[in-house]
Amino acid sequence: MTTDTATPPAATPPGAGQTAGAASSKSKRKRVPYLLLLPGGIWLIMFYVIPMIQLAGVSLQEGSFQTGYRFTWAWGNYSAAFTAFGGHFIRSILYAGTATLLALLIGYPLAYAIAFRGGRYRNLLLILVLMPFLTPFLLRTLAWKVILADSGWVVGVLQSIGIIAENGRLLATGWAGVAGITYNFLAFMTLPIYVSLEKIDPSLIEAAQDLYSNSRTAFRKVTLPLSRPGIVAGTLLTLIPASGDFVNAQLLGNPQQLMIGNVIDSRFLRIVDYPTAAALSFTLMVAILLIVIPYVRAVGTEDLVA
């Protein structure tokens, strides 16, 4: 995602070549990285790893909120959750997938335009891409409610040119939810693609144009493959938050067609059915990891984190 080449520096740290106090300082030096990692590492283990185990534990509990929940290896929670909310899961994947595809279709040309046509205004243009995200997320989403409203001009125009029916609407439909997700995560798609496009040596494209003498083929054979790391990173950075989002579905989407995030949110916080909520949440995590880990294997964590 950034320009880190990820080669760890030379094995000899500064001063290691000097002989003064060799043995004791050497073993001290070995400890230094672990000491640096310790506080942050403890935080990650205490508040990421342990909560995940806890979540899995809660998902296998039985009981009710009144009588209390007890751990019983209640695998039935998973099948019950799936029977009840499988549709929400499939819808979430569908909505998040569609939104990610739309964000790619909008974001790629935008990143391309900034990288290759931005000239000396590149940085300014990048700031412009990020700037809308300085207004609070929920306010931006609520603004779409105004824009897509039944009496708004967007609906009016679409009705008059026949894209939506005479009495059709946008707000409170699945498409409005998808549109909201697409908009809210567009920067996550655009920035990584820009980073990988910007690294491409223009002379490579010129050479390709000389050889293929067709800029479309040059794009397909050179630019597109070289920007693949950006596409992968952008897709993940959009798909992951989109799959768990419940804000867009709640504020813009159809209240009868909510996403899995909405179910997890309401089961945990309003219905206080912790085991079902935890089972759904843990399943979502496993599903995401099943999608992400092949990518990580292919690209390496070093490049994804750095």
Binding site: T3, G40, Y48, F137, L139, L142, I147, S243, V305
Partner: protein, 267 residues
Amino acid sequence: MKRFLDFARHHLITVYMVGALAYLFVPVVVVMLFSFNDNRGRFNFTWRGFTLKHWANAFEVPNLFDSLVKSFQIAFLSALVATILGTLIALALVRYRFKGRSTTNFLLFLPMATPEVVLGSSLLALFLTLSIPTGFGTIVVAHILFNISYVVVTVKARLSGFDRHLEEAAMDLYANEWTTFVKVTLPMILPGVFAAFMLGFALSFDDFIITNFNSGGTVTFPLYIWGAARVGVPPQVNVFGTAIFVITVSIMLLTVTLQRRSDANVA
């Protein structure tokens, strides 16, 4: 003909870029515009004419300003702690070779690969099991967690870009590791550390989903908006949203201009 096609294509993508940027700004303009809307009733969804009254009585909506202050405190605290913890990790990853490196990388990557509902609900599961009451403290704990990875990424990018020979020179001359760190390394990575802090601050300030799970009775700015959305968001929320936007954009532009000027002076 070919030249004409090239010309059209060249401008087509520029026109597209302007269109895409305009699309990104549409909701921002709506947020700003509706802070001046002379709305009737509780809802602020249709334009009824221009007024300045919401700006004049921005502080009169109960609890709204308190929620902003809460968000500010949480963002400052969590960004500060996450910046310290994350910078230490970044130093270890870039400066040293050690066993467990790839495990560390994977552990840092995981929170970024976790949907916010899962992160929020897993923390709630922990707090429920340990009977820790949720509130201000648990929000800060959660925000530090999701900020650490972003801090590491940001600081690492800066660290791996600079010349190690400067550190070696300092060690050759007189300095022990600590002095070298304070006098050479830290000043050089400071812009990256500062950027990481700002990023963490922004992520924390705007977070809704994770906060929603771990807030207890504490109401942050996003939680205030979420609660108000059901009964009608007061236009004063748009006033503060607009003010936040204008202030942060001004700071950003000022920093860029100052940097340009100091760069120009050096050159």
